[in-house]
């Protein structure tokens, strides 16, 4: 079983832990992840604020490259990259004229045939159905699943899960023996790209998410987005300073939790790289 993967910048930098856990989990389930060769930046938050054609051209080049290399299905673990790629695919599908224009810009043949999946779709399709008999260490913890903004939105484009109350991660967590909590903050904003420019806003918003999860007795937050993770984990000192508190709630990637449950070690899934210590192994 072979699937393409587009890592984007996060997974090769600040989210190496996420990257390691995705690859470790794939290996455990005999899925070969093939990196899209010669991949480029997805445009992130910058491109679509500056230039529409640029914001579509960058993802279109990635998709065209995947097509050229015969990667019919591409996993995009970063929620932001996934959103950029999926939105581009949708816009170009809806607007053939624009599709031709972007094709000219990137100088490549873009067809838009690649099937994009994010991590929760990947887990839903390839991991959950094969979990039976694989759980060696049930993940017996109370978890608060945090989806953030980009996993299931814009719903019109992604058409996956329930936009206001997504369920995929909660279901996955139940399958590995965890106890997903009722968590009303599951799609609230973490502060996203304001992490660098307006850190106090991230501290305020991410703090609310952590406070509510702690209040409900969660042992860990479960996320599937490098941006959310860095805001909730790396920005913890700012959060604690803003809220004048000492939140210790760890933040784990969904792939890390499943990895541990199927017998991977803490190191396999990169838990040692977290800023907030994870006392779960």
């Amino acid at each position: 079983m072979k699937i393409g993967i587009y890592p984007g910048c996060s997974l090769t930098g600040s989210a190496r832990d996420y990257n390691e856990s995705v690859f470790a989990l794939a290996k455990a389930f005999d899925i070969e992840l093939v990196q899209v060769p010669d991949w480029n930046c997805c445009g992130a938050t910058a491109a679509h604020n500056l230039n529409k054609e640029l914001s579509l051209s960058l993802p279109a080049r990635i998709l065209a490259t995947a097509e050229k290399n015969g990667l019919d299905e591409v996993l995009v673990p970063c929620a932001a990259c996934y959103s950029r790629l999926a939105v581009t695919q949708h816009e170009l599908k809806m607007n053939p004229e624009l599709k031709n224009r972007i094709g000219e810009i990137i100088g490549m043949d873009y067809r838009g045939t690649t099937k994009l999946i994010n991590v929760i779709e990947w887990i839903d399709a390839y991991i959950i159905p094969n979990l039976e008999g694989r759980i060696t260490k049930p993940f017996d913890y109370k978890v608060a699943c945090y989806y953030g903004c980009l996993m299931v939105r814009p719903n019109k484009v992604l058409n996956y899960d329930r936009a206001e109350d997504p369920q995929t991660m909660d279901i996955a967590m139940e399958k590995i023996g965890a106890h997903p909590l009722y968590f009303p903050f599951k799609t609230e904003c973490c502060g996203a790209g304001l992490s660098v420019s307006r850190t106090e806003i991230v501290a305020k918003l991410s703090g609310k998410i952590i406070e509510d999860a702690e209040h409900r007795g969660a042992d860990t937050l479960i996320v599937a987005c490098p941006m959310c993770h860095s805001n909730l984990d790396m920005r913890r000192p700012s959060i604690n300073k803003y809220w004048e508190s000492d939140f210790k709630l760890p933040v784990m990637y969904v792939t890390q939790a499943i990895g541990l449950a199927v017998g991977l070690t803490a190191k396999d899934v990169g838990l040692q790289r977290h800023f907030v210590k994870v006392n779960i192994s």
């Binding site: 936009a163 009303p184 209040h215």
Partner: protein, 667 residues
């Protein structure tokens, strides 16, 4: 030999200011077969009409073209004048020189030329017009009213009071509808039941009204004045004639935990039940879906305790067929329930309720006898939040329209709460306050100024539960978009009003059009708000769109008048401008090949099948046949007919072709 008369009207100066009317009359007067042509200042006036009548007689005219305003305005006038002079009214045509020419063009020769063209095309047409006779259809003077809410009740009573028979069909066990569930009504705060129940009793006792509750309309055939309706009277499992309505059975039924529909799930009822104490008829029915006997095959406690032995477990449904002349649809509306709103908890928070549930809480006959108590723990909510426009005016939710009644009932709810919980705090999140209606705005002001209801202009993004409280997060747009967070004990969602369940199926059964929201569609949004596109079927109340009680009652009376007007005639006269299938000599009979494509496109179900048979009954050929009672003369079938076998009286293909050719040919 055709002898055509042309009468050019100046319409004061409306036409003559830009069109040279005299020249038009003169030019057209020279055309072949035009025996008489003149112009006059006001052709519709009495002298003008006399001029036409006398010219018809004097010149023995075989057709006339009145060249004046729109036929929408005065065609009936001139056709009547023609008829009075002995000319078949359908041999009178109107050229529209006003709306189609003088009002839209400058004064110059081209405008006059266009006027001449308009007249001479009709001169050519009227030459080949046929004398048509009005269509007469008989009328069955019994009305069917579907739905026993306030609109249906009002319509039924109004029709019955004109002396005509009415059959009122209601699908639930009692009439009364949503109005019977309401606590008090805006803007007077009078008790809903107190004003409604006397009407319900009147319906039951009216000699002209036959009431079928627990019954549904299954099918409809026929046309205006001559409908045949199939009604399924669902089995009540009880002999109503013997039952005294003592209610003993309802107290002894061992099934007691069925969510009570009338209480909007806030209370329970047994399997044999009367929906509410003031129900009409006040006799129970057995809900077979929940009855222990029907589920497990034994119990029959009700049969044992019934003092008059009225229980009939084996009673079947009864399907009856009735002849009626007109129908009033008054099937009402429904509301979205809290489970439609994922952002407000998908209905999983017990203390997030909808407007109808609040009505039951506030009602003296409700599950709490009128005390405002939280459904979760029975405590009095100290802080209550109302969310107006929950779903309404929200295209993302698929409901772009305003539900109209929520602004007012939310103000009423907040008021009722404050009247009962004096120290409590009530807040309303709203988009706009739409309080157009007699004494409505004053009512809202009272809520704000006298009852200190806290109105917050902004929407609620999310509601969640924390430590037994409901956290309502919204925005105050009048404070510059500041986020607002209220820790509430209870939240009432003014959820969108939507079409009642089953509305779409009923519309299809009745061949009545409905809109994309499944509300029944009126024939014209302004001038025919009570009629449907199907002749003889009328609308009343919220089945058309969400309406409050006064609007529903007004429309119900309007529908009743339409029915009464229909029933005031023994025969219906219709304009004969309907489609017809041609006839030829045997063995062809008609050029129609019986493909029946026309049947599928006819919006009025006016196309039937007609068999030509030999004397021994063998079918030789089946062709289309137009039901003149139903046909509205839209011409869709004419356009579609592949063998050109259908044509439209008054607007035949040949007539249209002649008009076009007249335009193309020099004169």
């Amino acid at each position: 030999m055709a002898r055509i008369g042309v009468f050019v009207c100046h319409c004061g100066e409306n036409i003559s200011a830009t069109v040279d009317c005299h020249k038009v009359a003169e030019t057209v007067g020279k055309l072949k077969h035009v025996a008489f042509s003149t112009d006059y200042k006001y052709m519709c006036s009495d002298p003008g009409q006399t001029l036409i009548k006398e010219a018809i007689k004097e010149h023995n005219l075989t057709g006339i073209v009145v060249s004046a305003c729109s036929p929408r305005m005065h065609e009936p006038t001139f056709r009547k004048a023609a008829a009075e002079a002995g000319l078949n009214p359908f041999l009178c045509e109107m050229a529209n020189l006003r709306e189609h020419c003088s009002w839209v063009h400058e004064k110059n020769d081209m405008t006059t030329d266009k006027a001449i063209d308009l007249v001479r095309t009709l001169v050519e047409k009227v030459k080949i017009n046929s004398a048509l006779q009005p269509i007469k259809v008989p009328v069955t003077k019994t009305a069917l009213v579907i739905g026993g809410g306030i609109a249906g009740i009002q319509s039924a009573l109004d029709i019955a009071n004109t002396g005509h028979k009415v059959i009122l069909v209601e699908r639930s066990p009692s009439i009364g509808g949503h109005m019977s569930q309401l606590s008090e009504t805006f803007p007077t705060l009078d008790c809903s039941q107190c004003i409604l129940t006397p009407r319900m009793v009147e319906v039951a006792q009216h000699p002209n009204i036959t009431l079928y509750t627990y019954a549904e309309v299954e099918g409809l055939d026929g046309f205006i004045g001559n409908f045949t309706v199939k009604i399924r009277k669902k089995s009540k499992s009880l002999d109503e004639k013997i039952c005294t309505g003592c209610g003993l059975c309802t107290t002894k039924c061992p099934q007691k935990k069925i969510p009570n529909e009338f209480e909007e799930g806030l209370g329970f009822r047994p399997a044999i039940y009367v929906p509410f104490p003031q129900a009409v008829p006040n006799k129970p029915v057995i809900d077979r879906e929940h009855c222990t006997y029907y589920i497990k095959g034994k119990c029959k406690v009700c049969e044992v305790v019934c003092p008059t032995k009225a229980i009939r477990f084996d009673q079947p449904d009864e399907v009856i067929e009735v002849q009626i002349g007109a129908i009033v649809i008054a099937t009402g509306f429904d509301i979205k329930r809290a489970d439609f709103f994922p952002e407000y908890g998908f209905g999983k928070y017990k203390d997030v309720i909808d407007g109808l549930q609040f009505e039951r809480l506030a009602s003296a006959s409700g599950p709490t006898s009128g005390a405002i108590l939280r459904p979760s723990d029975g405590q009095v909510p100290k802080n209550i939040v109302f969310v107006a426009c929950a779903g309404s005016r929200d295209p993302a939710k698929g409901i772009a329209y305003c539900s109209k009644i929520c602004c007012m009932y939310t103000a009423k709810h907040a008021m009722l709460y404050k009247h009962k919980v004096h120290e409590g705090k009530a807040s309303i999140f709203y988009m706009d306050i739409r309080s157009a209606g007699k004494n409505y705005e004053e009512f809202v002001r009272r809520a704000i100024e006298e009852d200190y209801v806290n109105y917050i202009r902004g929407r609620v993004s999310t509601i969640y539960e924390r430590d037994g409280k409901l956290i309502v997060k919204g925005v105050d747009t009048l404070l510059g978009g500041q986020p607002v967070e209220i820790v509430a004990d209870m939240v009432v969602l003014a959820t969108a009003g939507v079409a009642n369940h089953g509305a779409e199926e009923l519309a299809q059964r009745l061949h009545v059009s409905y809109d994309s929201h499944k509300f029944f569609a009126e024939a014209h949004p302004k001038l025919k708000p009570v009629e449907t596109n199907t002749a003889g079927i009328f609308l009343a109340g919220a089945c058309q769109n969400p309406k409050d009680i006064p609007d529903s009652v007004s429309q119900a009376s309007g529908a009743a008048v339409k029915v009464a007007a229909l029933f005031s005639q023994n025969e219906l006269t219709r304009e004969p401008l309907v489609a017809f299938v041609n006839r030829t000599a045997p063995p062809l009979y008609s050029t129609c090949v019986g493909c029946f494509l026309c049947q599928s496109v006819c919006p009025y179900q006016a196309i039937e099948r007609e068999d030509f048979k030999t004397r021994d009954g063998k079918i030789i050929k089946t062709v289309a046949k137009i039901n003149e009672g139903l046909c509205q003369g839209c011409g869709t079938c004419v356009a579609l007919c592949r063998s050109k076998s259908i044509d439209l009286h008054g607007y035949t293909n040949n007539q249209m072709y002649t008009e076009v050719m007249a335009l193309l040919n020099e004169y």
